[in-house]
Symmetry: C2
Subunit: 223 residues, 2 copies
């Protein structure tokens, strides 16, 4: 008799444990997926694992913005129609994808690769903050790399805008503040995302923190 | 700008597609899982894919009952306290695990590895039906392998019971009937699972097919 912890095969058990270690995949789902894979031809399983292995082995990161890429420079940094003077600082690859999906942004990015979180042991030196500072300094310097600024000469620092687009929780605020302290002396413009009630949100269902802050941060009415 | 079909990296896209090919994993979940894996150390990803690869490369199947096993004989067939005269015929490894989890069964199994399904191109020869017939004949023969019948001599066929524990849909019924036709001449006892209302089920919520059949198959009341 198998209990929920006991499997007919150690190999099956280890596969279930590996699949169940993925976020949001419970032990029942993991068993279902493992048994599905078990029923597949070996080449299908190998195709699956090779695609996953390439995430570990073959992925490049853009040397300018640290975004995932298939080459040394990502498609956004390589795109000369993007405004390289506006750099949106985000936590992760996913955030870049979310912002790109809005279709509202024509600048470039800087992917930190995480957020300052003492509880997870992640400090500023684990993130690409130094790279951001160096990138800004490089844009200003005489020998501004054409890669950083396609088609342009070096910029005065006042022409550069850094948008801190991090999450609104304590870790995000801490990280934003830390980055601000690192770059405020450079003279670049620093902005952050607008916060307030969501567009179309009903006051009745808004959480009181958001509602309160939206009142404090009220803006001129533009009819 | 990325649409939902466009990814910043072909490697990421292929990983998302591979993960999204798993049953019950949608494209959003697949992206979430791929980005999670992308953030893991390479050794974690390799540990994951190795555990999955072993499903293709290292799994054994019991030479008696076709159950997944870590050796040539599974732990159930190797267990001398199990009643090897009672063979429960099931579709899959998962069904064995489900029945074992009930703790109500002390016999052994025969895993077909599927079910007859013309629409999926699965015929009787794709299943371990021939192996079942041979197994029964071997139990009866003079040189009954001790593996098939731990501690026993050959059996008269009337001592052997085959429980057809397949699903109640058309494919299951078809497969049960096919197997029955193959073994009815052997003189073994053939049974199937009781069907009716679930224990504790409320009449009000029972589907009418089950309720109707439970009426027709009514049983003596045992107070």
């Amino acid at each position: 008799m198998y209990s929920t912890e006991k499997y007919p095969s150690k190999i099956l058990q280890e596969a279930v444990e590996a699949i169940g270690s993925l976020p949001g995949v419970g032990s029942r789902s993991a068993l279902r997926l493992a048994l599905h894979l078990l029923g597949q031809p070996a080449e299908s399983i190998h195709h699956f694992t090779e695609a996953v292995n390439r995430l570990a082995d073959d992925v490049h990161y853009c040397h300018i913005c640290q975004m995932i890429a298939d080459a040394d420079t990502c498609s956004i940094c390589a795109d000369r129609s993007r405004d390289a003077r506006t750099i949106c600082v985000v936590e992760s690859v996913r955030d870049v994808m979310s912002i790109e999906a809005t279709g509202q942004y024509r600048g470039v990015y800087h992917v930190l690769g995480g957020i300052i979180s003492p509880i997870d042991g992640i400090g500023p030196s684990d993130l690409k903050i130094k790279e951001l500072v160096e990138r800004i300094e490089r844009m200003h310097s005489e020998d501004a790399a054409t890669e950083d600024l396609p088609g342009g000469d070096s910029l005065s620092l006042g022409e550069i805008e850094i948008i801190l687009a991090l999450s609104g929780d304590v870790e995000g605020e801490t990280t934003s503040l830390y980055i601000y302290r690192q770059i405020e002396g450079l003279g670049v413009k620093v902005s952050t995302l607008a916060r307030g009630l969501g567009f179309g949100d009903d006051l009745e269902y808004a959480d009181s923190l958001t509602l309160g802050r939206s009142l404090i941060a009220r803006q001129p009415f533009r009819p």
